[in-house]
């Protein structure tokens, strides 16, 4: 990152290559929208470049990148909520009611690739229905595997708040996925 701060463009593209997967995945899971991932990931790295001199040497670079990505994802969620075409309550109910019965169809083989894809789709949609403040913490912890301390730094929250948010998010997700998991367990 030191080289990036000195306008080394090759170092910048190397950083993009190294972090693009994690940044893209974070955005994708928080927004549950594959289409916007490339544009938003690009925006994250543009901000990294523009603010490269604000990066404090000695701090963890991944934390800084995730902070930028999390803020952008939050802004994007709020922008979509303002437009009222994404996460409206009706849409959320529709998403869950559409996906779960299909996935819970016992006549379908559980081992097929199609079912696995549907399961993943349903889980992705269920994550998207968790309120934003819990969702970000959940994705950073259970998908990106960040330590609690790092999540606290990314979100600018005390460690206790982060733990509590992750616990609540897990509980919400479990309740949302409960019907699906129960039916999958059924013979």
């Amino acid at each position: 990152m030191g080289r990036v701060a000195e306008d080394d463009e090759r170092a910048f593209t190397e950083i993009v290559r190294r972090f693009q997967g994690r940044v893209g995945n974070l955005i994708s899971r928080v927004l549950n929208d594959r289409e916007s991932v490339d544009d938003l990931a690009q925006e994250v790295f543009v901000r990294v470049f523009v603010h490269r001199r604000n990066y404090r040497r000695g701090s963890k670079f991944s934390t800084w990148v995730f902070t930028i990505a999390a803020n952008l994802a939050k802004n994007e969620i709020r922008r979509r909520v303002r437009r009222r075409n994404w996460f409206s309550l009706d849409a959320l109910t529709e998403v869950l009611s559409d996906s779960l019965p299909q996935l819970a169809d016992p006549t379908e083989s559980r081992e097929t690739g199609m079912e696995r894809e549907q399961l993943q789709g349903a889980v992705g949609r269920a994550i998207a229905t968790v309120p934003e403040k819990y969702r970000l913490a959940l994705v950073l912890r259970d998908i990106e595997g960040l330590a609690y301390e790092e999540i606290a730094e990314v979100l600018g929250l005390p460690g206790g708040t982060v733990r509590s948010r992750i616990n609540r998010a897990r509980g919400m997700l479990q309740r949302k996925l409960q019907p699906l998991l129960r039916k999958q367990d059924a013979p």
């Binding site: 693009q20 893209g24 490339d38 543009v46 470049f49 523009v50 998991l181």
Partner: protein, 189 residues
Amino acid sequence: MNRCDQARRLFGAYWDDEVTQAEREWLESHLAGCPGCRPQYEQFARTLETVGSLPRTDVAADLPERALAAARRAATAPDRIAVVPVRPVWIQVTATAALLLLTLSALLPWLGTSAVQRLLAGRESKVAEPRLVATASRAPEPVRLDSLGIDHSEDVEFILDPVVLHRGRAQAPSRLPKGVQGEQAVISF
């Protein structure tokens, strides 16, 4: 709080491997013997396993090049609006007043001196110094006594002549008793 509530509160920490050895042993023994908590924990674990095993999202292969091009554009793009720092009005007003006060206090001694000097100069030009009327050249007046037998030929009449009210020489009517003659002297102030 009963034992099952206590156990369920530990699910998250147990999953994250953040429990103490004593908590681990207690929870594992509880799960082994509790028909309610065991399926609950299994469902909890399956949920998080499913979340954690979601496929990674691939980003565009040319993202580094695209990001670099966009970063170059962003770094060189001028601001679309002129950024004028907005300062509170009270700061400007206070600063102007302070500046004015300082200027006045610096100029006041000079202004004061010159004004006084100008005033004095003006007064000198407008108001003549009191002059003693020359009497030596006059012909000696004959001695005239009043009814009391006093000689007033050498009397001097003083007339108060405020400068503002009477510009130039005062020409006040004489208040000497009739028949008494004396010189007028003017005191200007």
